[in-house]
């Protein structure tokens, strides 16, 4: 870019239009460099919220980042994470509005580890926890027993969770699976 500018200045040293264009190009280059550094910082911090909120700013940069394909793919992964979180929050919100607190809580409980500690999810979960504490107690114990390979006790706690959230599809599925394995033993 430097050599192009030098050529332009040599050809038209007094042309104000050329001088202005050169100035703009130089400003853009400086700004892009700053934005590029900002994008790198956001990607390395895993800040999916900022990555999504500033998508319009970063999108052209990310497209141009041919020299750094890893940065591009990491940035796209962050965008996908944020989209998943927003979709989960919307689903949870819609279930909550229908008074289905336990299912709204499960949507957030089953978020992947990379999103489970997001402050927005945690805040919503804490609010929902106050609406269905018995269900959450039973569900938590069921999952703990299942992970500790105690299927009968896990089944017992899933039955108690279902009593608090009748017809809950996830719980019905768990009862079916654990019950069948118990029947076969």
């Amino acid at each position: 870019m430097h050599s192009l500018m030098e050529i332009a200045v040599r050809r038209a040293p007094l042309d104000s239009d050329v001088a202005k264009k050169i100035e703009t190009i130089q400003d853009n280059a400086t700004n892009n460099q700053g934005l590029y550094e900002e994008l790198k910082r956001i990607v390395s911090a895993g800040d999916h919220r900022a990555a999504f909120d500033r998508m319009n700013e970063f999108a052209p940069l990310a497209q141009e980042a041919k020299t750094d394909p890893k940065l591009k793919s990491d940035y796209e992964s962050l965008l996908e994470l944020e989209k998943s979180l927003r979709a989960a929050n919307e689903k949870s919100d819609s279930l909550e509005r229908r008074g289905n607190h336990s299912e709204a809580w499960i949507v957030l409980e089953t978020l992947p580890d990379s999103l489970a500690k997001d402050p927005r999810a945690l805040e919503r979960k804490a609010r929902l926890a106050g609406q269905c504490p018995k269900f959450i107690g039973s569900h938590t114990k069921a999952v703990a027993n299942e992970q500790a390979n105690r299927p009968a006790k896990a089944l017992a706690w899933y039955l108690n969770a279902l009593a608090e959230s009748p017809g809950n599809e996830e719980i019905v599925g768990k009862i079916q699976t654990l019950g069948n394995s118990m029947l076969k033993n």
Binding site: A148, A152, A156, W157, A163, N180, M182, L183, K184, N185
Partner: protein, 131 residues
Amino acid sequence: MPRNSNSFLNKQKLLIAGAILFLVAVGAVFLNSDATRQFSNLAEFPVENYLENNGVISQEDFLIDGTVDNVLLRDGSGRRFLVSVQTGKNGHLLPVLVDSDKKPIQRGQQLLMRVHVGAQEGIVCTNYEIR
């Protein structure tokens, strides 16, 4: 005379009906006390301890006195089925595996069950009486 004979026959019928009723009542009391006797020597199943503690409960037999919440699953033979039973002071639900050729259990029935903790800490019922 025919009137007296009719009255005598009616008394006889009443006596026979009374005797049948008496025998049925005595039989029911006997059967009931027999069922109660079968389960009376059993300790109550420690529901809270089973659910909350990770230790294995001893292999001895226990009594579950509860209500059938649901018949969850049956195997192909129809003799082995899994029920959820509501019991304990907190009304917790427990899954109980029933292996019996007795008449099938139905939802809402009140049962006395002889149980033990079997494989993978599952609750297995070996005998039951409908109350």
